[in-house]
């Protein structure tokens, strides 16, 4: 028994911030003081507060330390762990508001959240199956195998209203039902899509890193429901920590008889194999993913036949996303009514978002469906830094769109987001302020799609390239109003004709920015101005004669000698020579250089 537990985040964010080093220091310090028998150090998954990592949580006091550095460790051990006096300067400051220390659940960041998929992240040691079991782990699988028929399991998932968390929102129970025919007669497969590729999205990574067993348990439940004995997890190779924890988890589950033959003496066999991606975004698309597991170039194929009929190795297959699976055991344990009581009419449960961009609390949040964007940005996210104004939230990555300020109070759910031209997507949410150019953002996402298009179908391969060329033309100041019309026409054409989800949704960032920020496009093509001062070719760097002290610093820093002037006299920039690199703006100490 330990009198105290120190939890250290071992997610990717905190690991890059140095949590491994902190753990080493802490263990060494505890050992030297002979406290290692009293105080346990536990490496957990993600707490969600990635912007203030490395995170350290001390139980039972519930004191949350943030941005802990190795040199802070002796003080924490001496003052807090030995003498019981928390080190105030390191405590998460929101935690301190109002004078006293508040528990994690009481912080603004956590209070509006509801953790279902992330319930174990930041709480258990993901590399120890017993900690998962202590939190009701594998109980749902036991109940399913010993008390329920496969059809009853499917009915529970149907009744819960759970929809796919990978982006499209297809009802999970229905997917299972489609694949449930001819149980025991044909080989079937259960797959998990852990090929999370949207820029700025890391929900699935956090679940895999913080609670890998929940995915294994849910896949076994799915296997029982449809009559499959083999599962595959397709995970991106860019997630080494997640891969490693999955390997450990699979090994432990086999050792405990929770994977393998005759699980819970029920006669049900199920095993899981891990397959690593190799850096192709399109493999997140379901048919491409299966083609890749089969050992081919990961190109999508037309549907029908749907995977439920003919999927992996030509067999009936279900493929669900990591977060979808993370909800399954809780639905079994708490009942479909419980799950269906959370959320909105057509979108049940919670959704995890990776909050990023121009927002104070970047990190991972899980909210009940129907929470407004305002709550996410202003309360959970802590608002926009630097007193800037909210401009838009981008959801759905390269497949999604931008939600402008006018829809700030819309409850977030699948159907609402579609109706305003965006989509839920897998859960990336990038907040943008007034300094973001919407044309530039659309261009950024299209560059991504062009790069990742697999080239199999023409609308995607050539169409997105042509769209990108038009956007480049616009951001370089060469665009015309006819270009906007052509851009729209191409967008709708690609949407209707591309083979797979990647191509069909690729025009969304352009369409949604055209819908809500058309004036910005018009400013680029008609007035040749970039209102957000982002597109370099549409900018002019100038020196304010009033503010310039003639220090010559900018002159010396200019890589192309575009700045002229005598010492102690205002300088001028020659727009013909200027390449708009911004070096002068960065060097000026008097704020004399501005963009127009």
């Amino acid at each position: 028994m330990f009198r105290c537990h120190v939890l250290l985040c071992g997610g990717t964010g905190c690991t890059s911030a140095g949590s491994r080093e902190i753990k080493k220091c802490l263990e060494k310090e505890l050992k030297e003081r002979g406290l290692d028998k009293e105080i346990a150090v536990v490496k957990t998954g993600c707490f969600g507060m990635c912007s203030v990592g490395p995170i350290m949580m001390v139980y039972p006091d519930q004191v949350l330390y943030c941005t802990v550095q190795p040199e802070d460790v002796p003080e924490i051990v001496e003052e807090h762990l030995l003498k019981g006096r928390p080190v105030k300067r390191l405590i998460y400051d929101e935690n301190m508001a109002g004078g006293g220390i508040r528990t994690l659940e009481d912080t603004e960041f956590y209070r509006k959240q509801m953790r279902v998929a992330l319930r174990n992240c930041g709480i258990i040691n993901p590399e120890n199956i017993e900690e998962y079991i202590a939190r009701d782990g594998y109980e749902a699988l036991g109940r399913v195998l010993t008390e329920m028929t496969p059809d009853e399991v499917i009915q529970v998932i149907l009744d819960s209203g759970l929809r796919g968390r990978g982006g499209a929102g297809f009802p999970t129970g229905l997917k299972w039902k489609f694949a449930s025919g001819r149980r025991g007669e044909v080989q079937k497969y259960v797959c998990c899509n852990a090929d999370e590729g949207d820029p700025g999205a890391f929900m699935d990574r956090s679940v895999l890193e913080g609670d890998p067993h929940v995915v294994l348990e849910a896949m076994a439940i799915a296997g029982y429901a449809i009559g499959a004995s083999q599962g595959y997890i397709y995970v991106r190779a860019e997630y080494p920590i997640a891969v490693q924890r999955l390997q450990i988890a699979i090994g432990q589950a086999r050792e405990y008889g929770l994977l393998g033959k005759d699980i819970f003496s029920s006669g049900f066999d199920f095993d899981i194999e891990l397959r690593l991606g190799a850096g192709a975004f399109v493999c997140g698309e379901e048919t491409a993913l299966m083609t890749s597991i089969e050992g081919n170039r990961g190109e999508p194929r037309p549907r029908p036949p749907f995977p439920a009929v003919k999927g992996l190795f030509e067999s009936p297959t279900i493929l669900n996303n990591v977060e979808t699976y993370a909800n399954i055991p809780q639905i079994i344990l708490n009942g479909p009514e419980w799950f269906a009581s959370i959320g909105t009419e057509k979108s049940k449960g919670t959704k995890v978002f990776a909050l990023g961009g121009k927002i104070r609390n970047t990190g991972l949040v899980e909210i009940p469906m129907g929470t407004t964007l305002r709550t996410v940005v202003e309360e959970i996210g802590g608002g926009i830094p630097g007193g800037k104004k909210f401009k838009a939230a981008q959801t759905g990555g390269p497949s999604g769109g931008c939600i402008p300020a006018e829809h700030f109070d819309i409850p977030i759910d699948y159907d609402n987001l579609i109706s305003i031209g965006s989509m839920m997507g897998s859960g990336g949410m990038i907040i943008m302020d007034e300094d973001t150019c919407m044309v530039d953002i659309a261009k950024f996402f299209l560059e991504f799609t062009v790069d990742e298009s697999c080239g199999k179908c023409t609308p995607c391969r050539i169409g997105t390239k042509r769209m990108l060329e038009i956007l480049e033309k616009i951001t370089e100041g060469e665009g015309t109003e006819e270009d906007l019309a052509e851009l729209e026409e191409l967008a709708y054409y690609i949407k209707d004709n591309a083979l797979c989800g990647l191509g069909q949704t690729a025009p969304n960032p352009v369409l949604s920015t055209l819908r809500y920020f058309r004036d910005e496009y018009v400013a680029h093509v008609r007035d040749k101005k970039c209102p957000a001062h982002v597109c370099r070719n549409l900018l002019e760097y100038k020196i304010s004669a009033d503010k310039c002290r003639g220090c010559t610093l900018c002159m010396r820093g200019c890589p192309v000698q575009a700045i002229q002037g005598k010492a102690k006299e205002p300088h001028v920039i020659d727009p013909q020579k200027c390449i708009k690199c911004g070096a002068c703006l960065a060097t000026c100490r008097f704020g004399a250089i501005y963009m127009e």
Binding site: A237, L276, G295
Partner: protein, 175 residues
């Protein structure tokens, strides 16, 4: 973004230096996974882990052992961005060819690296020490022209500096 070569013959070939031990290791892995469905990618990933890249010789070995046409292996290798047909050097040189660097003569710097190393874009020297890439703006325009070797940034370069930079790493390599 990546300039994946479409023809092996266009590349400057680095002599294949695989050892018997590496071959044994790969064969062991292949035989251990024989009959497993869809195991080509895990095999190729293992091969790249062993050799550091997937040269023609290794692709051929996999093709022969697994009874899969070379054409398919080459197809898979070129589809995924994490498979490399050419080795990366111990020291990866990237020269910024962004606008600011370019107008300050980064093109000449790049050419000098290329000339001294005897390799082009995306290639690796035959001793495996250096590979060369051109990159986009690294955000150090004030220091233009800029080149990077692994993580180290070198700014305000002149053509005459190039040899000194390479010498420094060659010396490191001898230690």
């Amino acid at each position: 973004m990546s300039n994946k070569s479409m023809g092996l013959e266009e590349r400057k070939e680095v002599p294949f230096q695989g050892t018997e031990q590496q071959r044994e290791e790969l064969l062991g892995f292949i035989h251990g996974h024989a009959g497993q469905k869809g195991c080509l990618m895990p095999v190729m990933q293992k091969a790249q882990e062993i050799y550091g890249y997937l040269p023609q010789e290794v692709q051929k070995l996999i093709a022969d052992e697994m009874g899969i046409p070379m054409e398919k292996i080459y197809g898979v290798a070129t589809f995924y961005s994490q498979f490399h047909l050419a080795p990366k050097g111990k020291y990866q040189v990237s020269v910024c060819l962004g606008t600011a660097c370019y107008v300050k003569g980064a093109g000449n710097i790049y050419n000098k690296f290329s000339e001294l190393l005897g390799i082009g874009e995306g290639e690796c020297t035959s001793d495996g020490m250096f590979s060369l890439d051109a990159c986009r703006c690294v955000g150090a325009c004030g220091l233009a022209p800029v080149a990077m070797v692994n993580g180290d940034v070198y700014g305000r370069l002149t053509v005459d500096d190039v040899r000194g930079i390479l010498d420094k790493y060659m010396k490191d390599g001898e230690d």
